[in-house]
Symmetry: C2
Protein backbone atom coordinates (compact mmCIF):
# COMPACT_ATOMS: atom_id res chain seq x y z
CA UNK A 1 0.00 0.00 0.00
CA UNK A 2 2.15 2.79 -1.27
CA UNK A 3 -0.59 5.33 -1.32
CA UNK A 4 -1.47 8.92 -0.64
CA UNK A 5 -2.95 9.06 2.85
CA UNK A 6 -5.79 11.56 3.21
CA UNK A 7 -4.06 13.16 6.20
CA UNK A 8 -0.43 13.94 7.07
CA UNK A 9 -1.08 13.27 10.75
CA UNK A 10 -2.41 9.83 9.89
CA UNK A 11 0.54 9.16 7.61
CA UNK A 12 3.05 10.16 10.31
CA UNK A 13 1.44 7.87 12.86
CA UNK A 14 1.40 4.99 10.37
CA UNK A 15 5.06 5.63 9.52
CA UNK A 16 6.02 5.56 13.19
CA UNK A 17 4.08 2.36 13.89
CA UNK A 18 5.52 0.56 10.89
CA UNK A 19 9.04 1.08 12.27
CA UNK A 20 8.23 -1.58 14.88
CA UNK A 21 9.45 -5.10 14.13
CA UNK A 22 6.85 -7.34 12.50
CA UNK A 23 4.44 -4.42 11.91
CA UNK A 24 3.86 -3.74 8.22
CA UNK A 25 2.07 -0.71 6.80
CA UNK A 26 -1.29 -2.46 6.70
CA UNK A 27 -1.14 -3.52 10.33
CA UNK A 28 0.18 -0.08 11.28
CA UNK A 29 -2.83 1.55 9.62
CA UNK A 30 -5.19 -0.84 11.40
CA UNK A 31 -3.63 -0.06 14.80
CA UNK A 32 -3.60 3.70 14.20
CA UNK A 33 -7.25 3.69 13.14
CA UNK A 34 -8.06 1.65 16.24
CA UNK A 35 -6.34 4.24 18.45
CA UNK A 36 -8.16 7.01 16.61
CA UNK A 37 -11.47 5.46 17.64
CA UNK A 38 -10.49 5.36 21.34
CA UNK A 39 -10.95 8.24 23.75
CA UNK A 40 -8.29 10.84 24.54
CA UNK A 41 -7.28 9.29 27.87
CA UNK A 42 -6.52 5.94 26.29
CA UNK A 43 -4.33 7.38 23.53
CA UNK A 44 -2.54 9.73 25.92
CA UNK A 45 -2.05 6.91 28.42
CA UNK A 46 -0.61 4.71 25.70
CA UNK A 47 1.81 7.34 24.41
CA UNK A 48 2.87 8.53 27.85
CA UNK A 49 3.59 5.04 29.16
CA UNK A 50 6.21 4.72 26.42
CA UNK A 51 7.80 8.13 27.01
CA UNK A 52 7.82 7.48 30.76
CA UNK A 53 9.41 4.08 30.29
CA UNK A 54 12.10 5.50 28.04
CA UNK A 55 12.83 8.50 30.27
CA UNK A 56 12.73 6.83 33.66
CA UNK A 57 13.99 3.35 32.89
CA UNK A 58 16.66 2.07 35.22
CA UNK A 59 18.86 -0.99 35.08
CA UNK A 60 19.99 -2.99 38.10
CA UNK A 61 23.61 -2.03 38.76
CA UNK A 62 24.46 -5.62 39.65
CA UNK A 63 22.84 -7.75 36.94
CA UNK A 64 21.78 -5.06 34.39
CA UNK A 65 18.22 -6.32 34.28
CA UNK A 66 15.52 -3.64 33.99
CA UNK A 67 14.45 -2.50 37.44
CA UNK A 68 12.65 0.35 39.21
CA UNK A 69 15.23 0.30 41.99
CA UNK A 70 19.02 0.62 41.95
CA UNK A 71 19.38 -3.08 42.70
CA UNK A 72 16.66 -5.31 41.25
CA UNK A 73 14.26 -7.53 43.20
CA UNK A 74 16.10 -10.69 42.17
CA UNK A 75 19.58 -9.47 43.15
CA UNK A 76 18.34 -8.17 46.49
CA UNK A 77 16.37 -11.33 47.33
CA UNK A 78 18.39 -13.12 50.02
CA UNK A 79 16.37 -16.32 49.55
CA UNK A 80 17.97 -16.87 46.18
CA UNK A 81 21.15 -18.87 45.74
CA UNK A 82 23.86 -16.17 45.78
CA UNK A 83 26.72 -18.14 44.28
CA UNK A 84 25.12 -19.21 40.98
CA UNK A 85 24.82 -16.74 38.09
CA UNK A 86 22.90 -17.40 34.90
CA UNK A 87 24.25 -15.39 31.94
CA UNK A 88 21.54 -14.32 29.46
CA UNK A 89 21.38 -12.15 26.40
CA UNK A 90 18.58 -9.76 27.36
CA UNK A 91 15.82 -8.78 29.77
CA UNK A 92 13.28 -11.02 28.09
CA UNK A 93 15.38 -14.11 28.70
CA UNK A 94 15.27 -13.40 32.43
CA UNK A 95 11.47 -13.36 32.26
CA UNK A 96 11.40 -16.57 30.26
CA UNK A 97 13.70 -18.44 32.67
CA UNK A 98 11.84 -17.07 35.71
CA UNK A 99 8.64 -18.47 34.21
CA UNK A 100 10.06 -21.99 34.25
CA UNK A 101 10.32 -21.80 38.08
CA UNK A 102 13.43 -24.01 37.70
CA UNK A 103 16.12 -21.49 38.61
CA UNK A 104 16.67 -19.87 41.97
CA UNK A 105 20.04 -18.20 41.48
CA UNK A 106 21.00 -14.77 40.15
CA UNK A 107 21.22 -13.42 36.61
CA UNK A 108 23.64 -11.43 34.53
CA UNK A 109 22.22 -9.65 31.48
CA UNK A 110 24.83 -9.19 28.74
CA UNK A 111 22.73 -6.78 26.69
CA UNK A 112 23.28 -8.72 23.45
CA UNK A 113 25.55 -11.33 21.94
CA UNK A 114 28.76 -11.06 19.97
CA UNK A 115 27.75 -10.41 16.37
CA UNK A 116 30.38 -8.93 14.05
CA UNK A 117 27.74 -8.50 11.31
CA UNK A 118 25.80 -6.10 13.56
CA UNK A 119 29.00 -4.50 14.84
CA UNK A 120 28.60 -5.93 18.34
CA UNK A 121 31.88 -7.00 19.91
CA UNK A 122 32.69 -8.20 23.46
CA UNK A 123 33.35 -4.57 24.45
CA UNK A 124 29.70 -3.67 23.84
CA UNK A 125 28.48 -6.32 26.24
CA UNK A 126 28.47 -6.57 30.04
CA UNK A 127 31.27 -9.14 30.08
CA UNK A 128 33.82 -7.18 32.13
CA UNK A 129 31.22 -6.55 34.82
CA UNK A 130 30.55 -10.30 34.90
CA UNK A 131 34.24 -10.97 35.58
CA UNK A 132 34.22 -8.33 38.34
CA UNK A 133 31.12 -9.92 39.91
CA UNK A 134 32.71 -13.37 39.97
CA UNK A 135 35.72 -12.13 41.94
CA UNK A 136 33.71 -9.85 44.22
CA UNK A 137 30.71 -12.03 45.05
CA UNK A 138 32.25 -15.48 45.38
CA UNK A 139 30.32 -16.99 42.48
CA UNK A 140 30.91 -20.76 42.15
CA UNK A 141 28.87 -21.54 39.03
CA UNK A 142 28.23 -19.59 35.85
CA UNK A 143 25.43 -21.00 33.70
CA UNK A 144 25.62 -19.91 30.06
CA UNK A 145 22.05 -19.60 28.78
CA UNK A 146 22.48 -17.93 25.39
CA UNK A 147 20.69 -18.75 22.15
CA UNK A 148 21.70 -21.97 20.41
CA UNK A 149 22.93 -20.02 17.37
CA UNK A 150 26.36 -19.41 15.92
CA UNK A 151 26.55 -16.01 17.63
CA UNK A 152 25.41 -17.56 20.91
CA UNK A 153 28.05 -20.27 20.65
CA UNK A 154 30.75 -17.71 19.84
CA UNK A 155 29.76 -15.63 22.88
CA UNK A 156 29.66 -18.76 25.07
CA UNK A 157 33.14 -19.66 23.95
CA UNK A 158 34.48 -16.13 24.51
CA UNK A 159 33.09 -15.99 28.04
CA UNK A 160 34.28 -19.54 28.78
CA UNK A 161 37.84 -18.55 27.86
CA UNK A 162 37.65 -15.39 29.95
CA UNK A 163 36.49 -17.44 32.94
CA UNK A 164 39.11 -20.17 32.57
CA UNK A 165 41.43 -18.23 34.90
CA UNK A 166 39.12 -18.70 37.89
CA UNK A 167 39.77 -21.95 39.68
CA UNK A 168 36.88 -23.37 41.77
CA UNK A 169 34.49 -21.86 39.23
CA UNK A 170 32.23 -24.25 37.34
CA UNK A 171 31.05 -23.03 33.92
CA UNK A 172 28.00 -24.89 32.62
CA UNK A 173 25.79 -24.47 29.57
CA UNK A 174 22.07 -25.19 29.31
CA UNK A 175 21.21 -28.58 27.77
CA UNK A 176 20.58 -28.78 24.07
CA UNK A 177 18.40 -31.64 22.93
CA UNK A 178 15.05 -32.70 21.53
CA UNK A 179 12.27 -30.34 22.64
CA UNK A 180 9.58 -31.77 24.88
CA UNK A 181 6.63 -32.76 22.68
CA UNK A 182 8.76 -33.16 19.54
CA UNK A 183 8.76 -36.34 17.51
CA UNK A 184 12.20 -37.77 16.94
CA UNK A 185 11.93 -37.96 13.17
CA UNK A 186 11.46 -34.19 12.93
CA UNK A 187 14.44 -33.28 15.11
CA UNK A 188 17.47 -32.09 13.14
CA UNK A 189 20.55 -34.31 13.20
CA UNK A 190 22.81 -31.95 15.16
CA UNK A 191 20.25 -31.55 17.94
CA UNK A 192 19.54 -35.28 18.00
CA UNK A 193 23.26 -36.04 17.99
CA UNK A 194 23.83 -33.66 20.90
CA UNK A 195 20.94 -35.19 22.84
CA UNK A 196 22.52 -38.65 22.49
CA UNK A 197 26.01 -37.50 23.49
CA UNK A 198 24.62 -35.58 26.48
CA UNK A 199 22.18 -38.28 27.57
CA UNK A 200 21.23 -38.28 31.27
CA UNK A 201 20.41 -41.07 33.72
CA UNK A 202 16.71 -41.80 33.35
CA UNK A 203 16.26 -41.61 37.10
CA UNK A 204 17.68 -38.05 37.00
CA UNK A 205 15.78 -36.95 33.92
CA UNK A 206 12.44 -36.08 35.48
CA UNK A 207 13.84 -34.32 38.54
CA UNK A 208 12.75 -30.74 38.91
CA UNK A 209 14.16 -28.20 41.32
Amino acid sequence: MNQAYPSRLLENAVNEFSKLPGIGRKTALRLVLYLLRQDHEMVTGFAESLIKLKNEVNYCRVCHNISDTAVCAICSNQNRVQHTVCVVENIKDVLVIENTLQFNGLYHVLGGIISPVDGIGPGNLEIDSLITRISAEGITEVILALSATMEGDATNFYIFRKLSGFKDLKTTVIARGVSIGDELEYADEITLGRSIVNRTLFSESFKLN
Copy 2:
Protein backbone atom coordinates in the same frame (compact mmCIF):
# COMPACT_ATOMS: atom_id res chain seq x y z
CA MET B 1 2.74 -15.01 30.52
CA ASN B 2 1.00 -13.94 33.64
CA GLN B 3 4.14 -12.95 35.42
CA ALA B 4 5.73 -10.42 37.69
CA TYR B 5 7.53 -7.92 35.48
CA PRO B 6 10.80 -6.67 36.92
CA SER B 7 9.68 -3.07 36.45
CA ARG B 8 6.35 -1.26 36.85
CA LEU B 9 7.20 1.08 33.98
CA LEU B 10 7.77 -1.89 31.73
CA GLU B 11 4.55 -3.53 32.89
CA ASN B 12 2.54 -0.36 32.21
CA ALA B 13 3.92 -0.05 28.70
CA VAL B 14 3.19 -3.73 28.00
CA ASN B 15 -0.35 -3.34 29.37
CA GLU B 16 -0.96 -0.36 27.11
CA PHE B 17 0.39 -2.10 24.03
CA SER B 18 -1.62 -5.24 24.63
CA LYS B 19 -4.84 -3.20 24.49
CA LEU B 20 -4.31 -2.92 20.72
CA PRO B 21 -6.23 -5.40 18.56
CA GLY B 22 -4.25 -8.50 17.62
CA ILE B 23 -1.41 -7.66 20.02
CA GLY B 24 -1.04 -10.21 22.81
CA ARG B 25 1.15 -9.80 25.88
CA LYS B 26 4.10 -11.58 24.29
CA THR B 27 4.07 -9.38 21.19
CA ALA B 28 3.51 -6.32 23.39
CA LEU B 29 6.62 -7.17 25.42
CA ARG B 30 8.63 -7.69 22.24
CA LEU B 31 7.54 -4.30 20.86
CA VAL B 32 8.18 -2.48 24.14
CA LEU B 33 11.65 -4.00 24.47
CA TYR B 34 12.34 -2.97 20.88
CA LEU B 35 11.33 0.63 21.66
CA LEU B 36 13.47 0.53 24.80
CA ARG B 37 16.52 -0.22 22.65
CA GLN B 38 15.85 2.77 20.36
CA ASP B 39 17.06 6.30 21.05
CA HIS B 40 15.01 8.94 22.82
CA GLU B 41 14.06 10.80 19.63
CA MET B 42 12.53 7.69 18.08
CA VAL B 43 10.40 6.83 21.12
CA THR B 44 9.31 10.44 21.59
CA GLY B 45 8.53 10.75 17.88
CA PHE B 46 6.47 7.60 18.03
CA ALA B 47 4.48 8.64 21.08
CA GLU B 48 3.98 12.23 19.95
CA SER B 49 2.75 11.27 16.50
CA LEU B 50 -0.13 9.44 18.20
CA ILE B 51 -0.99 12.26 20.61
CA LYS B 52 -0.80 14.79 17.78
CA LEU B 53 -3.04 12.66 15.58
CA LYS B 54 -5.62 12.25 18.33
CA ASN B 55 -5.57 15.93 19.33
CA GLU B 56 -5.48 17.53 15.92
CA VAL B 57 -7.42 15.07 13.81
CA ASN B 58 -10.07 16.60 11.61
CA TYR B 59 -12.79 15.04 9.51
CA CYS B 60 -14.00 16.40 6.18
CA ARG B 61 -17.29 18.16 6.83
CA VAL B 62 -18.70 16.84 3.56
CA CYS B 63 -17.76 13.15 3.45
CA HIS B 64 -16.47 12.61 7.04
CA ASN B 65 -13.22 11.09 5.81
CA ILE B 66 -10.12 11.97 7.84
CA SER B 67 -8.53 15.16 6.47
CA ASP B 68 -6.10 17.90 7.43
CA THR B 69 -8.36 20.51 5.88
CA ALA B 70 -12.02 21.36 6.51
CA VAL B 71 -12.97 19.79 3.18
CA CYS B 72 -10.85 16.81 2.13
CA ALA B 73 -8.74 16.53 -1.01
CA ILE B 74 -11.21 14.18 -2.68
CA CYS B 75 -14.30 16.33 -2.04
CA SER B 76 -12.53 19.47 -3.23
CA ASN B 77 -11.10 17.86 -6.36
CA GLN B 78 -13.15 19.26 -9.25
CA ASN B 79 -11.81 16.58 -11.62
CA ARG B 80 -13.80 13.91 -9.80
CA VAL B 81 -17.34 13.00 -10.81
CA GLN B 82 -19.46 15.16 -8.50
CA HIS B 83 -22.78 13.35 -8.85
CA THR B 84 -21.73 9.86 -7.76
CA VAL B 85 -21.25 9.03 -4.07
CA CYS B 86 -19.79 5.79 -2.77
CA VAL B 87 -21.01 4.95 0.75
CA VAL B 88 -18.41 3.15 2.89
CA GLU B 89 -18.16 2.06 6.48
CA ASN B 90 -14.88 3.71 7.48
CA ILE B 91 -11.76 5.65 6.50
CA LYS B 92 -9.85 2.51 5.59
CA ASP B 93 -12.43 1.51 2.99
CA VAL B 94 -11.83 4.83 1.22
CA LEU B 95 -8.11 4.00 1.01
CA VAL B 96 -8.84 0.49 -0.23
CA ILE B 97 -11.20 1.68 -2.98
CA GLU B 98 -8.85 4.52 -3.97
CA ASN B 99 -6.11 1.91 -4.40
CA THR B 100 -8.15 0.08 -7.06
CA LEU B 101 -8.01 3.24 -9.26
CA GLN B 102 -11.49 2.21 -10.49
CA PHE B 103 -13.57 4.92 -8.85
CA ASN B 104 -13.50 8.60 -9.64
CA GLY B 105 -16.52 9.88 -7.73
CA LEU B 106 -16.96 11.09 -4.16
CA TYR B 107 -17.26 9.18 -0.90
CA HIS B 108 -19.46 9.22 2.17
CA VAL B 109 -18.02 7.65 5.32
CA LEU B 110 -20.75 6.30 7.61
CA GLY B 111 -18.45 5.76 10.58
CA GLY B 112 -19.66 2.19 11.12
CA ILE B 113 -22.53 -0.10 10.23
CA ILE B 114 -25.80 -0.87 11.95
CA SER B 115 -25.05 -3.46 14.60
CA PRO B 116 -27.59 -3.87 17.42
CA VAL B 117 -25.18 -6.24 19.22
CA ASP B 118 -22.62 -3.42 19.52
CA GLY B 119 -25.32 -0.85 20.26
CA ILE B 120 -24.86 0.93 16.93
CA GLY B 121 -28.11 2.15 15.41
CA PRO B 122 -28.77 4.32 12.35
CA GLY B 123 -28.64 7.39 14.62
CA ASN B 124 -24.96 6.75 15.36
CA LEU B 125 -24.04 6.80 11.69
CA GLU B 126 -23.70 9.59 9.15
CA ILE B 127 -26.92 8.61 7.36
CA ASP B 128 -28.86 11.85 7.85
CA SER B 129 -25.94 13.83 6.45
CA LEU B 130 -25.97 11.52 3.42
CA ILE B 131 -29.64 12.34 2.80
CA THR B 132 -28.87 16.06 3.13
CA ARG B 133 -25.98 15.74 0.64
CA ILE B 134 -28.17 14.03 -1.93
CA SER B 135 -30.70 16.88 -1.90
CA ALA B 136 -28.07 19.61 -1.73
CA GLU B 137 -25.47 18.38 -4.20
CA GLY B 138 -27.59 16.87 -6.96
CA ILE B 139 -26.26 13.34 -6.52
CA THR B 140 -27.56 10.94 -9.18
CA GLU B 141 -26.02 7.67 -8.03
CA VAL B 142 -25.33 6.22 -4.60
CA ILE B 143 -23.05 3.18 -4.60
CA LEU B 144 -23.40 1.03 -1.47
CA ALA B 145 -19.97 -0.45 -0.75
CA LEU B 146 -20.39 -1.99 2.70
CA SER B 147 -19.12 -5.35 3.92
CA ALA B 148 -20.86 -8.46 2.59
CA THR B 149 -22.00 -9.39 6.10
CA MET B 150 -25.41 -9.50 7.76
CA GLU B 151 -24.78 -6.10 9.36
CA GLY B 152 -23.64 -4.70 6.03
CA ASP B 153 -26.75 -6.01 4.31
CA ALA B 154 -29.00 -4.59 7.03
CA THR B 155 -27.34 -1.18 6.68
CA ASN B 156 -27.61 -1.36 2.88
CA PHE B 157 -31.31 -2.10 3.18
CA TYR B 158 -31.88 0.69 5.69
CA ILE B 159 -30.17 3.26 3.46
CA PHE B 160 -31.92 1.91 0.36
CA ARG B 161 -35.31 2.49 2.00
CA LYS B 162 -34.34 5.98 3.16
CA LEU B 163 -33.30 6.84 -0.40
CA SER B 164 -36.41 5.42 -2.07
CA GLY B 165 -38.09 8.84 -1.78
CA PHE B 166 -35.62 10.43 -4.20
CA LYS B 167 -36.69 10.05 -7.80
CA ASP B 168 -33.94 10.25 -10.45
CA LEU B 169 -31.55 8.69 -7.91
CA LYS B 170 -29.96 5.36 -8.79
CA THR B 171 -28.91 3.21 -5.83
CA THR B 172 -26.39 0.50 -6.72
CA VAL B 173 -24.45 -2.05 -4.71
CA ILE B 174 -20.95 -3.36 -5.43
CA ALA B 175 -20.88 -6.75 -7.17
CA ARG B 176 -20.63 -9.88 -5.09
CA GLY B 177 -19.12 -12.89 -6.79
CA VAL B 178 -16.20 -15.26 -7.05
CA SER B 179 -12.92 -13.51 -6.14
CA ILE B 180 -10.35 -13.14 -8.91
CA GLY B 181 -7.86 -15.99 -8.57
CA ASP B 182 -10.31 -18.26 -6.72
CA GLU B 183 -11.09 -21.75 -7.95
CA LEU B 184 -14.79 -22.41 -8.39
CA GLU B 185 -14.88 -25.50 -6.22
CA TYR B 186 -13.73 -23.52 -3.19
CA ALA B 187 -16.28 -20.71 -3.55
CA ASP B 188 -19.20 -20.94 -1.11
CA GLU B 189 -22.64 -21.65 -2.59
CA ILE B 190 -24.20 -18.29 -1.76
CA THR B 191 -21.37 -16.37 -3.41
CA LEU B 192 -21.38 -18.67 -6.42
CA GLY B 193 -25.17 -18.44 -6.66
CA ARG B 194 -25.01 -14.64 -6.59
CA SER B 195 -22.28 -14.62 -9.22
CA ILE B 196 -24.51 -16.67 -11.57
CA VAL B 197 -27.61 -14.54 -10.96
CA ASN B 198 -25.63 -11.32 -11.48
CA ARG B 199 -23.62 -12.56 -14.46
CA THR B 200 -22.37 -9.88 -16.85
CA LEU B 201 -21.86 -9.79 -20.60
CA PHE B 202 -18.42 -11.23 -21.31
CA SER B 203 -17.60 -8.29 -23.55
CA GLU B 204 -18.29 -5.94 -20.59
CA SER B 205 -16.52 -8.03 -17.99
CA PHE B 206 -12.95 -6.92 -18.58
CA LYS B 207 -13.66 -3.23 -18.99
CA LEU B 208 -11.87 -1.03 -16.52
CA ASN B 209 -12.46 2.64 -15.91
